[in-house]
């Protein structure tokens, strides 16, 4: 180790331009997600596997072509996995490891950190939608509707699930978050219209439609199967979830 040259450490403080921080943080967040085996399993492997199995093995009866029913459901599952489950677990452990605390004393503003996390989620979702759509089309999926309605549903769904993920990950301990996020993922998978039509739950169906996963899967089906232009009920349910969860997260989120 060589000695420090005089003047090498003279203070020269300053924050980097915000776009540079945002770019660096977004790349780091993306690496963290894509390198994490469990997150890749949850966001890519399981949705893709489920889609192939559900469409090709007829053990759950549905009306109409199987791919047309299951692609929207699995898309909703994919959004939930990334924005809710993945974010909750990631944030929970980042808090536990003191990462967010350390970042809190760097020039990185919290708003830029949250924006970077959002951009990373959207990038992963783009990858998920591309892969799931490609597999779906190969399995005979015949989508209808307008792409803008799909984008609106996915964006509002991402906001709602991110709010819930940050709320869970930002208030509880790492292992509790891990357990709760995986449990909720499974419950919402079953009750959220991903693998069973919600009508299968009879009298409870109307209440289940208010779950964010159900609102997203039903909305996507309204657009992609029935060609509905503006799936109002789903958009309203997701918007309410987004406002409530993001509001609660911004009040209750703890950085350490």
């Amino acid at each position: 180790m060589t000695a420090w040259a005089p003047g090498a450490l003279v203070p020269r403080p300053g924050a980097a331009p915000l776009p540079r921080m945002l770019a660096a943080q977004t790349v780091a967040e993306l690496k963290l997600v894509l390198r994490n085996g469990e997150q890749v399993l949850l966001s890519l492997v399981i949705p893709l596997g489920l889609l192939v199995v559900l469409v090709t093995v007829p053990f759950i009866p549905v009306d109409g072509p199987r791919a047309d029913f299951f692609v929207p459901g699995v898309l909703a599952l994919a959004v939930m996995s990334t924005a809710f489950t993945g974010q909750a677990i990631g944030v929970g452990f980042e808090r536990q490891y003191g990462v967010l605390k350390r970042l809190g004393v760097t020039p990185l503003p919290r708003s830029v950190l949250l924006l970077a996390k959002t951009l990373a989620v959207l990038a992963v979702e783009l990858l998920q939608v591309t892969l799931l759509s490609a597999v779906g089309l190969a399995l005979g999926w015949d989508p209808r509707g307008h792409v803008l309605a799909v984008v609106a549903l996915v964006v509002l769904g991402t906001a709602a699930f991110s709010g819930l993920g940050l709320l869970l990950g930002g208030t509880m301990r790492g292992l509790t978050v891990l357990a709760a996020a995986n449990l909720l993922w499974f419950v919402l998978l079953v009750l959220g219209g991903v693998v069973f039509p919600i009508s299968a739950f009879g009298g409870a169906a109307a209440a289940l439609e208010l779950l964010p996963t159900a609102a997203l899967s039903s909305g996507l089906r309204d657009v992609l199967v029935d060609g509905v232009g503006l799936p109002l009920q789903s958009l309203v349910v997701l918007a309410v979830w987004a406002v409530l969860s993001l509001g609660a997260a911004s009040r209750l989120f703890r950085w350490e």
Partner: protein, 309 residues
């Protein structure tokens, strides 16, 4: 006091009714190294975390580089090395340093910093796979990479091998030469003795001593004679025989301490008196040594020898 890099006045912080910081005041001169010493639970970390903006004070005032601790304008100007953690477990060592460097307008060269801290070999190793010492060194690099004016180092050499400890010390000394202010929390008194311009000893949330290392170690007597012998010897008898102005005590049992007359060095008369007194009592003086006080003596004197929870 104006012009301090860090100015804490009358700081108070309680947790569930117990005061962990109790009217604590300290100042750090710009461009110097201040060592904050104290037993576990003395209130050091709470004090430092209030200065870093992690916690709010119940009372008192804190100014960091003239600003309130939570002023966002402060963030680029300070560097923080927490006691543990603080990095993404899934990022590689080099990636983590490059990431934090990207937050700064004029960062140090991250690769150069890795090399100087002996981390170039593990630059591509995930943080969670680094050894404890490597994680410590990365944490130090993260604190300084943004070229701050003031750095807080919380036990920077805990768990480091001697080579890494020296590399850390050289970095702190280079920071001081270049005008960076350092607030160092440490248990290692030799570290404080080597690095610190000023020392503040904290116990039970209060400052129990403050000054330069020299002031603290030369306060009171400069010469001491220590030895071990039969417990319970009559120290008063020894005191009467010693030249005027000397002090003698047994603490703990079987360990004797004699201080030179009026703070002067131990002289041959004192030594002869002590050995004669031992002979009178038919006691052997073992492990007899004459020394000046170390910072450790001062520290233990101020904070006691009792173990802390």
């Amino acid at each position: 006091m104006t012009g301090s890099a860090l100015d804490v006045v009358g700081l108070v912080k309680s947790y569930s009714g117990r005061r962990v910081v109790d009217e604590l005041s300290l100042q750090v001169r710009p461009g110097t190294v201040l060592a904050l010493l104290g037993p576990n639970g003395a209130g050091k970390t709470t004090t430092v975390e209030i200065c870093q903006g992690f916690r709010s004070a119940d009372a008192g005032s804190v100014r960091v580089l003239g600003l309130p601790p939570r002023d966002p304008a402060l963030r680029p100007r300070i560097g923080v090395m927490p006691q543990a953690g603080g990095a993404y477990p899934g990022l590689r060592c080099g990636e983590m340093l490059h990431l934090v460097a990207a937050y700064a307008a004029h960062p140090l060269d991250p690769d150069d910093l890795l090399e100087r801290l002996g981390l170039q070999e593990v630059a591509r190793t995930a943080y969670r796979r680094l050894s404890g010492g490597q994680q410590q060194r990365l944490s130090l690099a993260l604190a300084v990479v943004g070229r701050p004016e003031l750095v807080f180092l919380d036990e920077p050499t805990a768990g480091l091998d001697p080579q890494a400890r020296h590399a850390t010390w050289e970095l702190v000394e280079a920071l001081r030469s270049d005008g960076v202010t350092t607030v160092l929390t440490t248990h290692l008194l030799d570290e404080a003795e080597r690095l610190a311009d000023d020392v503040v000893v904290v116990d039970h949330g209060r400052v129990v001593a403050a000054g330069t290392v020299h002031e603290l170690t030369s306060r009171g007597s400069t010469g001491q004679l220590r030895f071990a012998s039969t417990p319970g010897l009559d120290v008063d008898q020894l005191l009467m025989a010693l030249p005027p102005g000397c002090a003698a005590k047994e603490s703990p049992a079987g360990q004797y301490l004699v201080e030179g007359p009026h703070g002067a060095a131990i002289n041959p008369q004192v030594l002869a008196t002590v050995t004669a007194w031992c002979a009178t009592n038919d006691a052997m003086a073992a492990d007899l040594r004459i020394e000046s006080r170390s910072l450790e003596d001062v520290f233990l004197e101020l904070t006691g020898r009792g173990l802390r929870p």
